[in-house]
Symmetry: C2
Subunit: 157 residues, 2 copies
DNA sequence: GAATCATGTAACTTGAGTTGATACGTGATT
DNA sequence: AATCACGTATCAACTCAAGTTACATGATTC
């Protein structure tokens, strides 16, 4: 399967939304994320349904945060995306009548379950605000003004 | 992407090999794993290279264990398969010049790394012999003789 | 109220990678 | 010499995110 990059993508989008004063259109976000508007709408729709962001139609419309980043954990975002399949690995078919196969599948499933638990737990401990803080720290480190978001030739400033 | 079931499949195969007195042909294993001989050969080739199993050509040839199950951990098997990609999720493109994207990708990567570490650690603590023991326990529980491996109409006995 | 902007959504194509299937070469046994 | 079985290459099938296009709907502006 091709890689599913929706999670890091949406995290990226939320960071940008946090820095904007006006709603960002799907086209603007698409430019930031190097994709197109339809993908943005499709991907962000889950976040809207979960109340993480709001979208408005018409002139001056677009996307904006529905709550502060400090109240959004990475786990919230992952869930809002529909908790997409985490693993490329499967644990076999559980309908087999072979006891050996059941034992093999069960052993695989246990390891995957442990990994999944760790993943969710890891996401739960981090808020979007934490990521924003990391970003700002790096900006300072590079000697850049933290209010300059013209990361690519000022294209989206 | 389609799910990668090589790990549970190979575990299943190893359990069967452990119970056989003669080498198992690829065709026999294919029957046990509900696939075909070419897939078996392809999938098992990594295990042969890592010295977990041996294969012999010609009359009476086939696959057999190169070491006892107690000396094979699930991590060994996973590595022998080439440590196939674990996640369906990606952590984004790390060549981006956008610091926000880097922060988003980094946060995703951390969670994936933690999950991967847990997965490998979990695999490392279990040997194939442990799985075989689980299997035998279930056989006893069901009141079946532990030396009866005719799990499907005695087809492979 | 007409034009424009922007979301909402559907339909189709593309791309990556395991799996399934077939074929054929090579070595070992009888 | 015939047969068995592995070793390997090739090709099609299937899955699902991502890319793309198109069009309907609603909100704003003039």
């Amino acid at each position: 399967m091709r890689q599913d990059n929706r999670l890091p993508r949406v995290l990226h989008a939320l960071l940008h939304l946090n820095e904007m004063t006006n709603p960002a259109t799907s086209d603007q976000l698409a430019g930031m994320l190097n994709t197109n508007a339809a993908v943005v709408r499709r991907t962000m729709s889950g976040l809207r349904e979960q109340g993480l962001v709001t979208s408005m139609k018409g002139h001056g419309g677009g996307w904006f945060l529905a709550k502060p980043l400090s109240e959004i954990t990475l786990a919230d975002v992952y869930e809002a995306l529909g908790a997409p399949r985490l693993f490329a690995l499967g644990c076999g078919d559980d309908t087999s009548s072979c006891l050996m196969e059941q034992a093999a599948n069960s052993a695989t499933a246990k390891a995957l379950q442990a990994a999944s638990d760790t993943f969710i737990a890891s996401l739960s401990t981090v808020t979007m605000a934490d990521i924003a803080k990391d970003f700002e720290a790096k900006m300072l480190e590079l000697g850049l003004p933290t209010n300059d978001f013209s990361y690519q030739s000022g294209k989206y400033k």
